[in-house]
């Protein structure tokens, strides 16, 4: 291996950036799981929708793609609310396998609806800052990566304040801690379900926009791989734990990029599962998880 510390730094920065997108997805999954006790296996498809909405608005308006977060996030929040009302609410409490299987139906519907609308070609758009790199500790880093990392941090801070300081956020946390208790305190838990699904989908939409602006290619079937990685993070970090998701996301992003560097690109997708399986063998509820049940 050529180079020493600067190569490691380079890989760390790539990992940090890759981790950001996974973190947004995984936190969305965790929010939904916390409140509804449902894992949305079609979460990657929401990321894909976010990517295509960004793409469409970019093609129509030519705005700076980062600004289009303002389009993809609200659209996905709305989509999430619709999905929750139509698909997940009718089967809530009828068995966990059902909730897994309904996501499979959703995956087929969303993927192929997208393929009908946007065709199944691979697409790419170019960020206006594509060619600009900045130097940190002697390592060259695309400006886009820095913006993505900062954007993610801002979103996380906003989410933190929402959950900790606002009445609605507190009600959501109460619902996820004890659904019956929250109901007795006069919290409309069904509205909380809708809200958590909406926010979760919105975060996936944000991840989709960031995916697109970082210059990665996308097509209607691209959602499953990032989604599987988000599941891996959720398991590593513990189901329902938001700090766990952040740490899990960073671990995964960095490990993945080290694997590409040392083992080759084919291992990119498998390494996350090897980590996942190791974690599950050692600690079946995840590193930070209390108990799955």
């Amino acid at each position: 291996m050529a180079g020493g510390i600067d190569v490691i730094l380079q890989v760390l920065i790539w990992g940090l950036y890759a981790g950001c997108i996974y973190i947004l997805l995984a936190i969305g999954l965790n929010l939904i799981f916390g409140v509804m006790k449902v894992v949305n296996f079609a979460h990657g498809e929401l990321l894909m929708l976010g990517a295509y909405i960004t793409f469409t608005f970019y093609a129509l308006s030519g705005f700076n793609p980062y600004v289009l977060l303002a389009a993809s996030v609200p659209t996905l929040i709305l989509a999430g609310i619709i999905i929750e009302r139509l698909c997940f609410r009718p089967i809530l409490g009828t068995g966990k396998l059902n909730e897994i299987f309904i996501s499979i139906g959703l995956i087929y519907i969303i993927q192929n609806a997208a393929a009908l609308i946007w065709t199944d070609e691979w697409r790419i758009i170019h960020s206006p800052y594509e060619k600009i790199t900045i130097s940190i500790f002697g390592v060259n880093m695309p400006l886009d990566y820095l913006i993505i990392i900062i954007t993610t941090i801002l979103i996380l801070i906003a989410l933190y304040f929402f959950l900790r300081k606002t009445r609605l956020g507190k009600a959501m946390r109460a619902t996820s801690q004890n659904r019956k208790g929250a109901m007795l305190m006069g919290i409309n838990v069904e509205r909380m379900d809708m809200l958590s699904f909406g926010i979760g989908a919105g975060l996936a939409g944000a991840a989709g926009t960031l995916w697109v602006v970082s210059g990665q290619v996308f097509n209607p079937y691209m959602g499953s791989i990032p989604a599987i990685k988000a599941f891996a993070i959720v398991i590593i970090g513990g189901l329902g734990s938001i700090p766990g998701a952040i740490i899990g996301g960073l671990i995964l992003g960095i490990a993945e990029n080290f694997a590409i560097f040392t083992l080759g690109g084919a291992w990119k997708d498998a390494v996350s599962f090897i980590i996942l399986i190791l974690v599950l063998i050692i600690r079946p509820t995840g590193i930070f998880g209390e108990s799955a049940e």
Binding site: F41, N98, F101, G105, Y108, I228, L239, A270, I277
Partner: protein, 329 residues
């Protein structure tokens, strides 16, 4: 109480008996009705293979487990059988048992990791395993597997034999019947009772002296074995195998078949596979491509919400509905 007569999933004994006889006769004469149309024969062969595959997947759900990565076993069975058959020249009908054995071994390994996991974790981990195995096949073992290009697999029956597709079809129908008979025998034995006890209430099953881990592992291995056999049959029918066999679609099909037919019943995967295959190929002949995935997805969502016991519960539902109307009027 667990009613073992419900193993098949159809309540009325008469419908059950007639159903089995009808299906068997249909399986025998169907290819003859269409005058040995090669396209229809191919569709039928793949359908029967998928009946084996869906039934094997469904076997897991008797213990309350579910897998989103059965393509791992389907593909492994295919690869190992193809390699052994090409290297040794033994008939694929025998090497498919070896392929199934390889799938069962990996199933045992995955099962040991997974049996203690609950629904979500199990689903995510099995989903991941299919991808790991695909990655291994195209990178580490590319020398033996031909990487993304895949390898050729000997045909089940050489195309020199007259009406070889028809012979192939009947042999696969026979295998499917034997596999389902075996599942039935297992499920009506003490093992089947233990499965039901674990599914309904794990704590009580433990209290009754049933070791859930052992039975879950058994279900996992049996399910993996016959998924591997189904995979081997498919690739020996097609004549080649590529890593596409590990794709998410292959993992999802048996789930779609089993759910639309009726989860946790023997008849469910059979009915589901037949109905969905007819729908799927019917839509294709109408020239509908992407939209048919959407239709299948919608169907799945609607069945889960409105018909949680699957299509096989439809006759009972209709009967009860009609009786209810008679009473009120």
């Amino acid at each position: 109480m667990i009613d073992m007569n419900k193993t098949l999933g159809i309540e009325s004994k008469k419908i059950r008996l007639y159903g089995i006889i009808f299906l068997l006769i249909l399986a025998v004469i169907l290819p003859l009705i269409f005058g040995l149309n090669l396209y229809i024969l191919t569709v039928l062969i793949l359908m029967v293979i998928f009946i084996i595959y869906a039934s094997s997947w469904n076997f897991l759900t008797y213990t309350g487990q579910g897998s989103l990565g059965h393509a791992a076993f389907f593909g492994l069975g295919g690869y190992i059988s193809a390699m052994v058959a090409s290297a040794s020249g033994i008939s694929p009908y025998i090497t498919m048992l070896v392929g199934g054995g390889a799938a069962a071994l990996v199933g045992l390994f995955i099962g040991v990791i997974c049996v203690r996991l609950k629904e979500w974790f199990l689903a995510m981990v099995t989903f991941g395993f299919a991808i790991i195995i695909q990655t291994l096949m195209v990178s580490q073992f590319a020398g033996a597997t031909g990487g993304w290009d895949g390898i050729a697999a000997p045909r089940l029956i050489s195309s020199g034999v007259p009406n070889y597709l028809l012979v192939e079809y009947y042999s696969i129908v026979l295998i499917a019947a034997l596999v389902i008979l075996l599942f039935w025998l297992i499920l009506r034995s003490r093992v089947g009772l233990a499965f039901a006890a674990i599914r309904e209430n794990e704590m009580e099953a433990r209290a009754a002296g049933i070791d859930p881990v052992r039975y879950r592992l058994f279900a996992f291995v049996v399910s993996a074995y016959f998924s591997g056999v189904a995979g081997a049959l498919e690739i020996h029918h097609i004549g080649y195998i590529t890593p596409e066999i590990f794709s998410v679609d292959i993992s999802f099909w048996p789930i779609i078949y089993s759910i639309s037919g009726g989860l946790g019943t023997l008849a469910g995967p059979i009915v589901g596979t037949i109905v969905i295959t007819v729908l799927w190929d019917g839509l294709q002949t109408l020239g509908i491509t992407y939209a048919r995935f959407i239709i299948i997805g919608l169907l799945l969502v609607l069945i889960i919400i409105f018909l949680p016991k699957g299509l096989i519960s439809l006759p009972d539902r209709v009967r009860k509905y009609l009786e209810g109307r008679q009473k009120t009027s």
